[in-house]
């Protein structure tokens, strides 16, 4: 639902270089006025809510500060199991997305501009459709009697009642489809900037096609792959609609557990504590990502 690859599509500078626009034309007051609505919105409706959440995570039942919500989560093997599943699946999703995304981006970079445009449109189409719609499609495909179990049954590989729903495989399949565009566009942004003559030069120096790919393209595309992977991983650990619809209640993930506590069991302090844990985790992963893109933004 979010086309956020540009958060850091490596290379496109976000801000113009310093001092390009007028210095004397002044207008600090003008600029402050222009940006004020946005600043107010972000502070009041974004920073403050997150602050409220942080506060709730350490608020005791009878007021006062406490770490009980954290110890409850971290001390319970049930919740640790959820964390483990989330990390394991997210890692798998990231790896699969990279394995598909890199060659796809490479091909997209090397076809003509018209075909590339169509490929981009086809790749971002799932990204721009609602998560519930996409997930519904997978429910149809993976459920009992759905196209995929039906085909597998016809091939004699599984029995008639076989279903992929409520399995980790279903979560992985659904999530890879959703997150592949982030990876592809991240890598594409970098691969497009690789000087095509480098590959030709490698060929004239005796490298085969695959050797060129391995020794020239892959290392140069690495920043894009790393950025895409970090993005996919963080988006994956914080998703809950696809995992909860495809995995069901027996395969909860961290974000699903937060949703459960916030809206079903109404344990807000506990939900807040889990959110903080997710936030810290995402931050630890994103830090190198921001550094990676920040450096390029100069």
């Amino acid at each position: 639902m979010s086309l956020s690859t540009n958060t850091g599509s490596v290379g496109t500078p976000l801000l113009p270089p310093k001092g390009v626009s007028a210095r004397v034309l002044g207008g600090i007051a003008e600029d402050a006025t222009l940006s004020a609505p946005g600043v107010f919105l972000i502070i009041l409706a974004f920073i403050l809510p997150i602050g409220q959440m942080l506060l709730l995570s350490i608020e005791g039942a009878s007021g006062g500060l406490t770490t009980e919500h954290f110890t409850r989560f971290l001390g319970d093997s049930y919740y640790l199991g959820i964390v483990w599943r989330t990390l394991r699946l997210s890692l798998l999703i990231t790896v699969i997305a990279a394995v598909i995304g890199f060659p796809l981006a490479y091909v997209m970079a090397h076809v003509g501009p018209r075909l590339r445009l169509w490929l981009i449109i086809l790749v971002i189409l799932p990204l721009m459709t609602s998560v519930v719609v996409r997930t519904f499609g997978w429910m149809v495909l993976l459920g009992r009697g759905g196209l995929i179990p039906f085909t597998l049954w016809k091939l004699g590989l599984v029995n008639r009642n076989f279903t992929l729903m409520q399995t980790e495989s279903a979560i992985v399949i659904g999530m890879v489809q959703v997150l592949l565009p982030f990876m592809t566009l991240s890598v594409l942004g970098v691969v497009m900037k690789i000087d095509r003559r480098l590959e030709e030069a490698a060929r004239t120096m005796g490298a085969s096609f695959t050797a060129t790919l391995r020794t020239v393209v892959l290392p140069l595309a690495m920043p894009g792959i790393v950025a895409g992977s970090l993005l996919v991983f963080t988006l994956s650990v914080s998703s809950f609609i696809t995992p909860s619809l495809l995995g069901g209640v027996r395969l909860p993930v961290v974000a699903g557990s937060i949703y459960e506590a916030a809206t079903k069991t109404l344990e807000w302090n506990f939900a807040a504590a889990q959110s903080v844990i997710l936030l810290v985790g995402v931050f630890l992963v994103l830090l190198p990502y921001l550094k990676l893109t920040g450096r390029r933004h100069g």
Binding site: R23, V24, G26
Partner: protein, 360 residues
């Protein structure tokens, strides 16, 4: 604008003690300059010498840290650009991409509320005729070639009949041929309209060929100024000599022998130099085209010649460039391609009277 101006009226632009500091770096060290009405003045210098900053201070796009800017007798130091009677042509032309040619040229008249709409349109048409673009008035800028965009920018700059026209390296984005055409056209235009013009360039040929007055800047200071010929003939500093006419500048020992001043080259040979010699002048400036080459058996004239060895020859078409060795010293010479010398040939270099000058 020509009717009221008499040659001895107050200057069109007057700069007094302009200093500019960015953070901790001082980029202009007290520039003072009076520009008479109708002058075509060039600010010439290498990149980073402060010439563009000075132009932007005249425009009001930068404020001077210290000093005063007067345009047409009015102190404008504290005024923003929109309140100064100026027009500026940018290196990138800065044509409004969302306006067609006519709207672009009308923009300054519209902003400055000059006359009725009909009157404005008439002036736009006249300005476009002046740059021979009347037939392209309805085009968008992106549909024009670089040269045409340039003319639109020019039309837009002259349409408001400003007290001073500011040109920031306007020819540097054109290829060599278009550039020459544009130079001729700028001279023509200036002759016809008589607009006071400040032209910023790093190209010494351009500055010398276009302007009435050249101001050579270096490291935030005015190094020399004067009419093009005077600047060219009598550069007084090492920097001026090497920047204008790309002369060879050689460290020499100066001695006086019988009332004549001589410069001793590193290989021991002596050259008579022109008087007067400035205090502390200890470098010899020899312009490349002033080195006359002759075969080894040429009769040497006393204190005007020295021997050299040809190291490299580069054929340039109308001229030939030689790199000569005099001892350890390398000298460049531009010669007519009449007689060609090979690398390794010994030659006699003769300097015509009046061409060997000492600079500080």
């Amino acid at each position: 604008m020509t009717s009221t101006a008499s040659p001895d009226a107050s200057p069109a632009v007057s700069l007094a003690g302009i200093e500019k500091t960015f953070g901790r770096t001082k980029v202009l060290h007290g520039i003072s300059l009076d520009i008479p009405k109708g002058t075509f003045l060039s600010l010439l210098g290498p990149s980073g010498c402060g010439k563009t900053t000075l132009l932007r201070i005249v425009a009001g796009l930068e404020s001077a840290t210290v000093g005063q800017v007067t345009i047409a007798g009015r102190d404008v130091t504290q005024l923003p650009p929109e309140d100064r009677d100026i027009a500026m042509m940018f290196q990138s032309y800065a044509l409004m991409p969302h306006m067609n040619v006519r709207e672009n040229v009308r923009f300054p008249l519209r902003m400055r509320r000059r006359g009725s709409r009909d009157a404005q349109e008439a002036r736009v048409a006249a300005a476009l005729e002046t740059v021979q673009l009347g037939h392209l008035a309805e085009r968008m800028p992106r549909q024009l070639s670089g040269g045409q965009q340039q003319r639109v920018a020019l039309a837009r700059a002259i349409v408001s009949d400003p007290a001073v026209l500011l040109l920031d390296e306007p020819l540097s984005n054109l290829d060599a041929r278009l550039r020459e055409d544009m130079q001729v056209e700028l001279i023509e235009l200036h002759r016809r309209l008589g607009l006071t013009t400040i032209f910023v360039t790093h190209d010494q040929e351009e500055a010398l060929s276009l302007s009435d007055h050249v101001v050579l800047m270096n490291a935030g200071r005015i190094e020399e100024q004067g009419p093009p010929l005077a600047i060219y003939e009598a550069a007084g500093s090492r920097f001026a000599a090497s920047f204008i006419g790309s002369a060879n500048v050689i460290p020499v020992a100066v001695e006086t022998v019988g009332g004549a001043t001589m410069a001793q080259l590193p290989d021991g040979s002596r050259l008579a130099v022109e008087a007067p010699v400035a205090q502390g002048a200890n470098h010899l400036a020899l312009r490349q085209e002033d080195l006359m080459l002759g075969p080894d058996d040429t009769a040497r004239s006393e204190a005007r010649s020295f021997a050299a060895v040809v190291e490299t020859r580069v054929f340039l078409g109308a001229r030939v460039r030689y790199v000569l060795k005099v001892g350890d010293l390398s000298l460049k010479a531009l010669a007519e391609p009449g007689r060609l010398y090979q690398a390794g040939d010994r030659v006699i270099v003769t300097i015509p009277p009046g061409k060997a000058r000492l600079v500080a």
